[in-house]
């Protein structure tokens, strides 16, 4: 495996995906909260607004991983060398 080249750790990809997914789910949850669907189309426990807090949690974890493992010198594909 070539190690001379600047490498992007797998954790960065994971952070990015979690952040984007978290953002989309959070937006979707906020939309549902502000413009509630008809009662017969709501999922069980709708009032807990799971997409809002679950999306926010994913966004925070994703942003942390993306920042912590951002492509820079000294990183390898598997994390810090």
């Amino acid at each position: 495996m070539h190690t001379s080249e600047k490498q992007i750790p797998i954790w960065f990809f994971i952070g990015l995906v979690l952040a984007v997914y978290g953002f989309l789910i959070l937006l979707s949850g906020l939309h549902e909260m502000l413009w509630p669907p008809p009662e017969d189309q709501r999922v069980a426990l709708w009032h807990l607004h799971a997409p809002v807090w679950w999306g926010a949690l994913m966004l925070i974890v994703g942003l942390f991983y993306s920042w912590r493992f951002r492509p820079r010198g000294g990183e390898t594909l598997t994390g810090r060398a």
Partner: protein, 707 residues
């Protein structure tokens, strides 16, 4: 419910139970993004895979965390999560054994005892170890069998995925198969094991992110753990009437006998069949698993990565077993009664009732709204693709190094084998697609595939174990022990499905489409009798008087007396018309009397079989599993145990009369002749033995708490 009472439940109108999940725009974006990212990772990693070691062994650079996450992700396919959720719905807490005694001791044994031999001998595969320890014949047998089974399992995974996505989302099956499999083919062919491993790590996070909300919301809904258990006790007799006295809420206290638990197994089968034979066979010798950890950067990372895998495996019941149990507690019909799911073999399956396999998707549809549903479906697709990629990367390695190189082209350049690895990844996927389409034609093969894997891995474990622990084991002993155990497994499987002359399958009546029927009900709405007014009926193994008057109605009892006992009549009505209302309907019932009005066309068939793969002969089951009450799961576990015993015994006996290899050829392969490498001092909290002890303590505690 007594054996005499028929079970009849709701009848459905319309063409099918309908698509379970409806995706919105944001869900589709989430799913589409997943495909883009896994392909991007494959393209990015291609530049780092030039040599055979890069492509087949990910450069042997993996950290313990990546090895451990990949190890468990390759196992966490959607067949596994959906299958074991269904098991938990069917068998209650016993379903969690697959994650405790059915995995953890074996994973720890791999980490502490077997990993040093795999790692130090620098083998690239499990068949490669067989070559070093026993010679070419054992390697060839293992390599060819493993390649064949890997393709079968990968094809089965594709078939199952296409079927599930079609049933849940209404997606086109061809499209599901081709899009997912070509994506896997591209990223594995580009980046080899490196790409497979890195995508498995990503898939692990997505599977958890998409699955963990279900148990969280379900437990809130059920009123916590205690509330869920109370509801299970209340609902289980309604949902599982035939195992009314069985205990669904404990791990061990219901394993005293075969009939006190819903799995129909006893403690011996669970401990020695699942806990020793199947589990050790799968975790210690299935190359799909072992490959993920032997590519760690050093022995300590390989061992710690495996132990991280054990930790993570113990967490999986949260997203698998708990949803299955929640299915028993919180899935209800609109009128508040418990929703009854049925096995795939039930006459009502897919007609009026959802099946056990639908328990996880049903919970998804109950709790996950827009966005989260896309994440849940992505988790499901990621699970299927991680399983496929795991099989294909393992196949590419074993095919290239254990079949192609020794048997077809021995002394080529390294880049030639890398090219062969890339092409065999694509070829493996194409063969898997072929297998998936074959399963469309012969779908009943699917249920035997898992058993086929047992046929192979348990014998393999027997000979590898003897090879690692006993230096006297000879090449002939290893080969014949392996072969004898495989043949014994096949023979036991055939034996329990063999019946005496004259045995007949269950009596069945099938109404032709368009037949007109009427249903007699009592004052509570319970079905009493089905009357066929017009149409056509096929009767299998149902006696009909030869001298009956065609102008008289024909009454058929709900239970048929036969030499082998009194058996319920299955009635299948997949597309009928209800008399009087002219409404289309479909239903499946068992044990209900039937009346045929004059003019109804009757076709009578008598089928006798001496071999029936879908049925178990209780007399033969007693020989294998000690009791005629043993159910299929118990019989499989006992068969695996006997296979292990036979494999070890034949290896020992043949070894005692044949010539062993000289000790100089056994260095780094056998206990007592292997020197552990000095990897320098390390603090206590990095020592594999310490963490293995912690995992063992947690395992014991969990088993005591849920005893």
């Amino acid at each position: 419910m007594t054996a005499d009472s028929p079970f009849v439940l709701a009848m459905a109108s319309g063409s099918s139970p309908g698509s379970l999940l409806r995706l919105g725009f944001v869900d589709l974006i989430i799913i589409g993004l997943y495909f883009v990212v896994v392909l991007a990772i494959g393209f990015y990693l291609k530049r780092f895979t030039h040599t055979g070691e890069d492509f087949f062994l990910a450069g042997r650079k993996m950290t313990a965390w990546i090895a451990g996450l990949s190890f468990i992700s390759a196992n966490l396919s959607s067949l596994e999560t959906m299958g074991w959720s269904a098991m938990a719905y069917q068998y209650g807490m016993l379903g969690a054994h697959a994650y405790f005694i059915g995995a953890i001791p074996a994973i720890l044994f791999l980490a502490i005892v077997m990993m040093p031999f795999y790692y130090i001998c620098r083998t690239h595969s499990v068949p490669g170890y067989l070559k070093l320890r026993y010679g070419e014949p054992a390697r060839a047998l293992a390599g060819i069998t493993f390649s064949f089974l890997t393709i079968c399992v990968s094809g089965a995974s594709m078939f199952a995925m296409a079927k599930i996505l079609h049933l849940l989302l209404g997606w086109d099956m061809d499209l599901s198969i081709w899009v997912s499999s070509l994506t896997v083919a591209i990223y594995v062919a580009l980046g080899g094991l490196l790409s497979a491993v890195f995508n498995e790590v990503l898939q692990f996070f997505l599977i958890w992110a998409g699955s963990l909300l279900i148990p969280i919301l379900g437990l809130i809904h059920a009123g916590g753990w205690r509330g869920m258990m109370e509801k299970i006790q209340e609902h289980a007799p309604i949902i599982h009437p035939t195992v009314q006295n069985a205990d669904f809420t404990s791990l061990w206290r219901n394993l005293g006998s075969f009939d006190s638990n819903p799995m129909g197994i006893d403690w011996f089968g669970m401990v020695f069949g699942l806990g020793l034979a199947v589990s050790f066979g799968y975790w210690c010798t299935d190359f799909l698993q072992v490959q993920r950890v032997i590519v760690a950067k050093d022995l300590r990372s390989a061992q710690n990565g495996t132990i991280i895998g054990a930790f993570l495996k113990m967490m999986v019941p949260l997203i698998v077993t708990v949803p299955g149990l929640l299915g028993l507690a919180v899935l209800t019909n609109p009128d508040g009664t418990p929703m009854v799911l049925v096995p795939e073999s039930d006459p009502r399956a897919g007609i009026t009732h959802r099946t056990y396999n639908d328990v996880l998707p049903l919970l998804m549809s109950q709790y996950l709204g827009p966005g989260l549903l896309g994440l849940g479906v992505t988790a499901m697709i990621a699970g299927f693709m991680s399983g496929m990629a795991g099989n294909i990367s393992a196949f590419a390695t074993v095919w290239t190094y254990d079949v192609y190189q020794p048997l077809l082209r021995r002394n080529a350049e390294d880049h030639h084998y890398v090219m062969m690895g890339r092409w065999s990844s694509i070829g493996g996927i194409l063969l898997s697609i072929g297998t998936a389409y074959l399963l469309f034609l012969f779908s009943n093969i699917l249920e035997y595939l898992q058993v086929l894997v047992f046929f192979f891995i348990v014998p393999l474990f027997a000979v590898i174990l003897m090879g690692m622990l006993w230096k006297r084991a000879t090449p002939a002993g290893g080969f014949w022990g392996f072969l004898a155990a495989i043949l014994a497994s096949i023979a036991m499987w055939a034996y329990v499905h063999t019946f005496p002359e004259g045995w007949r399958p269950q009596p069945k009546a099938t109404l032709a489409p368009g037949s007109v029927v009427r249903v007699e009900q009592d004052s509570d709405g319970r079905w009493q009798r089905v009357i066929v007014e017009r149409g056509e009926l096929t009767l299998v193994n149902v006696p009909v008087p030869q001298d009956r008057n065609a102008d008289d109605p024909l009454d058929i009892p709900g239970f048929i007396e036969e030499p082998q006992g009194r058996r319920p009549l299955q009635l299948l009505a997949p597309a009928v018309v209800m008399a009087g209302t002219e409404h289309a309907a479909k239903f499946g019932v068992e044990g209900l009397p039937l009346q045929l009005r004059p003019g109804v066309t009757v076709r009578v068939q008598t089928i006798e079989q001496t071999f029936a793969p879908a049925a178990f002969n209780p007399d033969h089951a007693r020989v294998i599993a000690r009791s005629e009450k043993a159910k299929p799961m118990a019989i499989n576990m006992y068969s695996a145990w006997w296979s292990l015993v036979i494999g070890i015994m034949v290896t020992v006996l043949v070894s005692l009369v044949t010539r062993p290899k000289p000790e100089s050829e056994l260095r780094n392969l056998v206990m007592g002749l292997t020197t552990m490498p000095d990897e320098g001092p390390c603090p206590w909290y990095q020592k594999p033995v310490f963490w293995a002890s912690v995992v063992t303590a947690i395992l014991v505690a969990v088993n005591v708490v849920f005893w």
